[in-house]
Amino acid sequence: MTTFYQLLFSGFALGCVYALVALGFTVIYRSSQVINFAQGSLLALGAYMVSWFAIDKSLPFGLAVLAAIGVCVLVGVVFQRLVLRWVAGQPVFVIVMITIGLSIVIDASVSAKFGANPRLLGDPWSSSAVHPGGVTLIWAKIWTIVTVFGVLLGFFLFDRYSRYGLAMRATAADEEAAMAVGVPTRRVFALAWGVAGAVATVGGFFLATFPNQLDPSISAVALLAFPAIILGGLDSPAGAVVGGVTIGLVEELTKGYQPAHASWLGTNFYVIAPYVVMILVLMVKPYGLFGRAPVERI
């Protein structure tokens, strides 16, 4: 039973990170129907910035995180305002290609500056843990869960109650109609990219905490969050959270139990388990668990 709780804990913590990554995708997809292929690179950039501010610049850790968030928000907003606004109205394919370009630029810049070797993150927890009832709770993961919940709660309050949250939802529903009633849609898109940058930083930095490490491969994690987004529904922030946590749990539980109980599936089956779940869900619910089939009166 201890193993089960142990897996549940680590799966939940991993799922929280996936939820954040998925939320980054969702925020941008909802506002402009674009899948942002640079989300993973923003994740890496955020994590490296935390490390750079904390270690190279010797900022206190909390400040380093805030500064890194600032950098990623800036990159997102500037990219939207300087590049994407000129291709507004172009086919989604064009915009997707541009995000792939951004991804390559960020990845290459990060590698050029920091190299390919693992770096210290500069977090205050390293491998410290508490052990209630024989289960090992790593501090970094406890903080992951707490912080991610705080961020998600903040996002949902913003989305539901604030003026700009409403503007984002209106723009997502019908961009031209939102413009027509006076919503400054360009500012809304910039905001979406800012939010995506912020959640990417937090997600990226928790991904790099113990027992993982900070190296350039971190940007590939965005692809691991992909089943989470599809599972939850591309346009639903709530779906991103449920999808993320589900995928995290599936991955960790498979990793823990499959080798002993279903070894004929081979090693590393946990890598594909999330995709199997994704396919099964899509067969039953094509819009994802929370994705909206359009509201229609018959």
Binding site: L166, R169, M179, A180, V183
Partner: protein, 258 residues
């Protein structure tokens, strides 16, 4: 006093397709104007030029001027125009279907002229369109067609406009509903807001506007008081074409004369 003045307006899309040419029209403070014309005559393009939505459709004003309250507004941002008093409801209602009725109204107030009055304005708007008051918490997509049109107009009114611009508000609605909407629009105009609308329903045009322009192939060919314009033989022939349409105008104008 003239509130909106369009003169010599020429609009093209993609630099090649001519949508309207040399269009001139004006809306007085407190006035109500209708833009009539067949499909493809260029009515919506004129509205887009005024409300700043042309760019979104890859169109541009290549000639002419548009002034609102004495200031040129060509190329201005739509949200800024809303803030300065031009609100609109697009053709086909275009409400935010997944959002609640209440959130639709809040969105309409985003760039309102005076945001501190949002609550009071909402009450006034709900009085204009009572069916909406009972449905504030519902997703707007579940409203009936007539209620959706009411919501589209109500949402525009949340901006506290000086000029309300509507594109085909009667589209696809039953005559009784069109009549209700006409009554609300008369109230809006009576309250001091100017009205400019594109309309194919002669009934609604007659009921709510005092002056009308006829657009044909992108040019204004006739303009006169709405009742006169719609009674004109030439207008009837070009705009409505069929004899069934003529009978409709005769019936409506006759009713109006009594």
């Amino acid at each position: 006093m003239t509130l909106l003045e369009v003169s010599g307006l020429t609009v093209t899309y993609g630099g090649a397709v001519l949508a309207c040419e040399g269009v001139s029209l004006s809306v007085d403070e407190g006035g109500s104007v209708c833009l009539l014309g067949a499909n493809g005559a260029g009515k919506t393009s004129v509205l887009r030029a005024i409300t700043g939505l042309l760019r979104y459709h890859n169109g541009a004003v290549v000639h002419g001027s548009i002034t609102f309250d004495g200031r040129s507004i060509i190329g201005a941002d739509t949200s800024k125009l809303v803030a300065s008093g031009i609100a609109q409801a697009l053709e086909g209602r275009r409400i935010f279907r997944d959002l609640t009725v209440s959130d639709n109204l809040r969105a309409g107030a985003f760039s309102a002229r005076d945001r501190s009055r949002e609550k009071r304005v909402r009450d006034e708007v709900l009085q204009l369109f009572p069916p909406l008051a009972a449905r504030l918490g519902q997703a707007a997509g579940y409203l009936s067609g007539g209620e959706q049109q009411m919501l589209a107009i109500a949402r525009a009114m949340m901006a506290q406009p000086r000029l309300l611009i509507l594109d085909e508000p009667s589209l696809g609605l039953a005559p009784l509903v069109v009549e209700q909407i006409g009554a609300s629009l008369r109230e809006i105009v009576a309250g001091g807001c100017s009205l400019m609308m594109v309309e194919q329903s002669t009934a609604l045009a007659l009921a709510t506007t005092s002056y009308a322009y006829l657009l044909e192939n992108g040019c204004v060919t006739h303009h006169d008081r709405t009742a006169h314009l719609l009674a004109d033989e030439r207008v009837r022939a070009s705009y409505l074409g069929t004899s069934a349409g003529q009978a409709e105008v005769a019936a409506v104008t006759g009713e109006k004369a009594r």
